[in-house]
Subunit: 340 residues, 2 copies
């Protein structure tokens, strides 16, 4: 009568890496597959009678709920705006849904609302509908927020991994790992992050400028959140079948992030960002793209970090600072649960 | 140094009644007010370049997650579809976002997915985008689901409380209290609900027929979920400034619901429904509206339950079975937490 072991959800299933994909492809898509969902993009594109809209959803469970540079409120506004922007969509409306734990303080809730208010106003994207649920003490954790969003994709804009091609240049809009390391060091009460703060930020303004200035030379955009830069590169190499390489020395990483990740044995390329994008741009427009980014606050540390190769073996290679080459693989395990 | 008492979230703030409104009007609207949100409808109407869309969000935290007639999965599909339908919108796309608790069983998750799959297919509304987060054991409760949705409002359709007028007839599409009593008796392990099951059901098909058949004589639609029929009536009386009266004997209530609510000291008019709607229809079309409803499975027990009066004092009166009159007020407290 040996009992069968029943599979259970683990924290790894929320990593954004391999286990998350296993869950989505093995369980969710088997049930819910359709041409929208199977795309596995962060936003769906809907063709309405006239024009296209992007539609996205994200739940935020970050712990702690407040951290240097932001809180769960600003994060939930920026994150959903950015998911829309990565499709080349202009965000026009957000929804806001709370799951509150009984006993959560009004003061704290109001601080988060103030942060949502500020983020929404600054971005120019209104919260148009909402919902609130309360669960008993011990059945939640202070506050979880879902924000969904709608954006309008301008006529002619076509940004996505299907447009990545050999020779494309890979650009990152700024330093990587800031958000993840900020959360981790705060949560664990570690003192070595110095002045580091989350990079949480809305990127739709930057994206709009890139679209206007680069036109069809802008091929694909991704925000390297859960799983970081490495996970995005591995995923898109697999999807396109193309190989990519990145140069370690060209990737902007703050000293605090370098220090913290070295001590903790983490790789900054796998650490979450919340205000950065990776762009695939045709070779001829790459320098201009970096110049455009650097003129804006969101992209002032933008840099070319790599390129798409001719090889069709879907590998991602890191050219290390010491002159070696190292393969980059999908994230296994979950070094940083509840990072967003 | 007497410490100030810091206000805290209570289960009542999730009731859908007075306390929920206090929270929304006192805290949320102060921060996030805009013409969309201040409407306090379950869906926002967005005017895009061409045409109007409805946009809504809902988080589901029902306990238990599975119950006679449905589970948190079907509920989350139907509930969001219904919020769109109540605006006269035809639902075209849903998002799906999970907050899973570490340790939740794959089997249970797959059952919920199967239920989502079935509900989505039956309704003809695809899940187009999604998200999954995992929180550590004890920081959530098995599974919370957010579904947001987009619907298209056909040209010329204008359904909303602004169209309610004196003389309108109030119709309910079927028996009230089924969902709430099912959940409550299951949760508490009470045995007296017999064959009762949740009425969770998608209502957009019924609404489409009503719109097509009644045209502008269909004034307003509401689904009486949290807070039940009474809460909807009180809210719309206040919003319109008009008085309304309902006849107790004409309100369809199952014997199991009557029995259970009597024993528990609850009023079925305040109990949540998940597959019912209330319609305000001009007097001349009321009979026809009931006939149309009764021809469909969703409305086979539809009945006229009351009318909008000439009085402008925004009161709701119940004409009781024994011949008396009783004022109906907004829900205070929260008799049934985590009902949806």
């Amino acid at each position: 009568m040996g009992g069968e072991i029943k599979r259970q959800i683990t924290l790894d299933h929320g990593s954004g890496g391999l286990k998350t994909r296993e869950l989505i492809e093995g369980l969710f898509l088997k049930r819910l597959n359709n041409p929208f969902l199977s795309n596995l993009e962060d936003s769906a594109t809907l063709e309405l009678n006239q024009g296209r809209i992007a539609f996205t959803t994200d739940s935020y469970v970050v712990d702690p709920i407040s951290f240097p540079g932001g809180d769960i409120g600003s994060l939930s506004v920026h994150g959903t705006i950015n998911d829309l922007a990565m499709k080349g969509a202009w965000p026009v409306a957000l929804s806001l849904s709370f799951v509150l734990e009984e006993g959560f303080f009004f003061d704290e809730l109001d601080q988060i609302l103030a942060s949502i208010e500020l983020a929404s106003k600054k971005a120019g994207v209104p919260i148009v509908t909402g919902d609130t649920k309360v669960v008993p003490r011990g059945k939640g954790d202070k506050i979880f927020i879902n924000t969904s969003g709608i954006g309008i994709i301008p006529d002619g804009v076509d940004v996505g991994y299907h447009r990545i091609q050999s020779g494309d240049v890979i650009i990152v809009s700024g330093s990587v790992g800031d958000h993840g390391v900020t959360i981790l060091t705060r949560r664990e009460g570690l003192g070595f992050s110095g002045d580091l703060k989350s990079d949480t930020m809305a990127l739709h303004g930057l994206v709009k400028t890139l679209i206007e200035e680069l036109g069809p030379d802008l091929h694909c955009l991704r925000d390297p959140t859960r799983g970081g830069v490495a996970t995005v590169l591995v995923e898109l190499a697999e999807r396109t079948g193309l190989s990519m390489e990145v140069d370690e020395e060209s990737i902007p990483i703050r000293d605090e992030v370098k220090g913290a990740t070295e001590i903790l044995g983490l790789d900054p390329l796998y650490i979450a960002n919340e205000g950065k994008l990776i762009a695939w741009v045709s070779e001829g427009s790459a320098k201009r793209a970096v110049e455009i980014m650097r003129q804006r606050i969101e992209g002032k540390e933008a840099n070319i970090i790599g390129r798409v190769l001719d090889g069709k073996d879907a590998r991602v290679t890191l050219n290390t600072i010491v002159g070696g080459k190292r393969a980059i693989y999908a994230l296994t395990g979950n070094p940083l649960p509840r990072i967003c």
